[in-house]
């Protein structure tokens, strides 16, 4: 039974349309109901995948190369689950958040958050199950446009500037990707990911396509030095949106990068390109962390932390580039570490942005100097922040620790010891800016106006995400076995 596969896309889209048509208070109710239903559906999909293995569906019954094929393996499933879990908590949070939000166009934000977010969710689900390069392009556009819509929701001046910059970058990235798709189609006459992977030769066409597609996707993933659009967009959006963007949206384009790397271009990648990408990752860690240390505003600090943390994802490429033997232990290990980092960063970053949202609701500002005494007044929020910080720093037993351990192990295992200092220094710098963020919370509070109380439900959602980011470290073995269903990290060939 694969009837859940179309529903993964249909359900959120139907919810989005309903939210658009219903005026006033109806939209949040429909939005939350759709989120619950979609999350339940993903759970069913997980059960189905575990019992009957990887799925391949031909849309319209035509089959590649004429039609579009969808494919679900462990890597797709873990991303679907990540989106569902984080999406559900953010939905519950957003439902109450906009009630207490001050500034911008509050009512409009409360109403229009839902259609844009549900379109984004449906588009991300479509992205994680697609096996067609052009279909992925269309879906990337959907993801990009709905994300931009979410950023400019409140319509204030700094939001518009950030949103426009984000839109232009996203479009440029899509165009680069599309040019690569055009080259591959011209050369091979099919758009199916796995079919192209089986046909591809290391020639000028595939090298140009690889460069174009990698560049476009790096732009969308905000990998240093193409990260310039991320901090303003993620810092100026409302807190639930920042959480969605930092936790999920940047991971969507990274997912395509992974697919391309393992399924389309394994014969084309070279150690030179891999090392270049690793270098960008190292640059991201250093630059993002140093910038985070210089920030005075809480949400900008968290946004720069995203820039830094995305760097860790890049070490997969130098380790696996040009690897001839697909069964290599190190390849499996670095891939598992990278996926683990995707997950734990998503959970921790979503939680920490939601914490920032709670602080903004209570204090009406996100200046870190106003956080004095927060530990006393909002202990649950500060506790969530600290838990998420533990995962981001990579302290055991968090998911971040397992991720960085696996990546470090693989990097040393293949003898590329020069990436290790980046990992170590990155951890220290993360600890630096996280302690800088938490320090004022434990100081004596300033006398003055107190904090507005925040709904308990919001604090619970935030705490749940933080605890999950620690928890996946404890159950990492099960999760990483799930990722290996269908053997997504195999070289060469890749198809199944």
């Amino acid at each position: 039974m694969t009837s859940w596969l179309p529903l993964l896309v249909l359900l959120p889209f139907a919810g989005a349309v309903l939210c658009l048509l219903v005026r006033g208070r109806g939209a949040p109710a429909i939005g939350v109901a759709t989120s619950l239903a979609t999350a339940a559906l993903v759970l069913f999909a997980l059960w189905s995948l575990q019992t009957s293995g990887p799925v391949r569906v031909q849309v319209g019954g035509w089959g590649a190369p004429l039609g579009i094929d969808l494919a679900v393996d462990g890597l797709s499933m873990i991303h679907l689950i990540m989106t569902a879990v984080i999406g559900l908590f953010i939905s519950l949070y957003a439902n109450r958040y906009y009630d207490g939000y001050r500034g911008g166009q509050k009512d409009r934000a409360r109403e229009l958050f839902w259609p844009f977010w549900l379109m984004l969710w449906g588009a991300m689900n479509a992205l994680f199950v697609s096996a067609d390069l052009f279909n992925l392009y269309v879906v990337l556009e959907l993801v990009g446009l709905s994300a931009v819509g979410l950023v400019v929701l409140t319509g204030t001046r700094d939001v518009l500037g950030a949103g426009l910059r984000y839109l232009l970058t996203a479009l440029a990235g899509s165009m680069c990707y599309l040019m690569g798709v055009a080259l591959l189609y011209a050369a091979h006459g099919t758009l199916d990911l796995f079919a192209i992977g089986a046909l591809i030769q290391s020639d000028g066409v595939s090298r140009a396509a690889l460069m174009l597609m990698v560049t476009g996707l790096l732009m969308k993933t905000a990998v240093f030095p193409l990260h310039f659009w991320l901090p303003p967009a993620h810092a100026s959006a409302t807190a639930p949106v920042s959480a969605l963007l930092s936790a999920l949206v940047v991971k969507a384009s990274f997912y395509i990068l992974l697919r391309l790397w393992f399924d389309v271009f394994p014969g084309v990648t070279t150690p030179l390109l891999g090392n270049l990408l690793g270098l960008l990752g190292g640059g991201a860690i250093l630059w993002g962390s140093l910038q985070a240390l210089r920030q005075k505003r809480l949400k900008l600090l968290i946004a720069y932390s995203t820039v830094a943390q995305l760097g860790y994802l890049m070490f997969l490429f130098p380790v696996t580039a040009g690897m001839a033997d697909g069964s290599s232990l190190w390849l499996q290990e670095v891939s598992k570490g990278t996926v683990c980092h995707v997950l734990s960063h998503a959970l921790a970053k979503a939680s920490i942005f939601l914490s920032a949202g709670l602080f903004i609701l209570a204090a009406g500002t996100d200046q870190m100097s106003a956080m004095k005494g927060l530990a006393e007044r909002m202990p649950l929020t500060v506790f969530s922040m600290a838990l998420a910080a533990v995962s981001l720093m990579g302290l055991p037993p968090s998911g971040g620790f397992i991720a960085k351990w696996l990546i470090m192990h693989a990097v040393l295992g293949v003898g590329q010891w020069w990436w290790a200092p980046f990992l170590v220094i990155g951890g220290l710098l993360t600890a630096g800016y996280m302690f800088m963020m938490l320090r004022p919370a434990f100081l004596e509070p300033d006398p003055g106006p107190g904090l507005k109380p925040v709904p308990r439900l919001l604090e619970v959602c935030t705490l749940a995400l933080a605890m999950l980011s620690i928890g996946i470290g404890i159950s990492a073995a099960n999760l990483l076995n799930l990722v290996m269903i269908g053997n997504p990290f195999s070289i060469p060939g890749g198809g199944w």
Partner: protein
Amino acid sequence: MYGILLAGAMAFMLLDAVRILPSEPSGLTGVVDSQMANSGVEHPVTAVLLNFRGYDTWLELGVLLLAVMGVLLFQPGTDLARVQPLARSDAVLRLATSLLLPLAVLVAGYLLWIGKYAAGGAFQAGVVLGAALILLWLSGNATLVILPPHGFRLILVLGFCAFMAVAVGLLIAGQGWLELPPSQAGSLILFIEACATLSIAWTMAALIIGLQPPVSGKQEGGP
């Protein structure tokens, strides 16, 4: 400076790539031709857009919907109810409009219908209809602005929803994901295209009209 070097390197790679591309197109023309009989239409472009790769077209309609919603975000209330209509224009433009408008509607309908047999279809028909709506607006008529917000949004989502309704109906009928049965494919495609034509026309017009400033005095903050 580095930018220019990088752009130069990229251009060189592209030129090199295009040079070694096969001169004989290895596309899917043959495969498309062999399946035309099952597509429900007689024009290959329509068959690819609405049937073979209908899933992509459905998602593209979603892209259009998001684009127009994004633009309407800059209108208070996100509909056109508060847009200031243009002043009535001169008699010549009004006369020209009254002559062209019925013709445009007729052409749009024809383009929609001919899509089954030749170049045409929802996108072309929608653009012609959308141009007619914009012409109506430019000649001083209120057009989309007088629609109630509800009806306006309903038309915007119509094409996207028609596709979705067909997909759900087929799933309930026991067909695969977007699997149009060859015997009914023709009429289903016409239904989808008719709905999409309206949505595309309204989207095009709303993209232009939505950029007009709202009536002053009623502005609720924002840009």
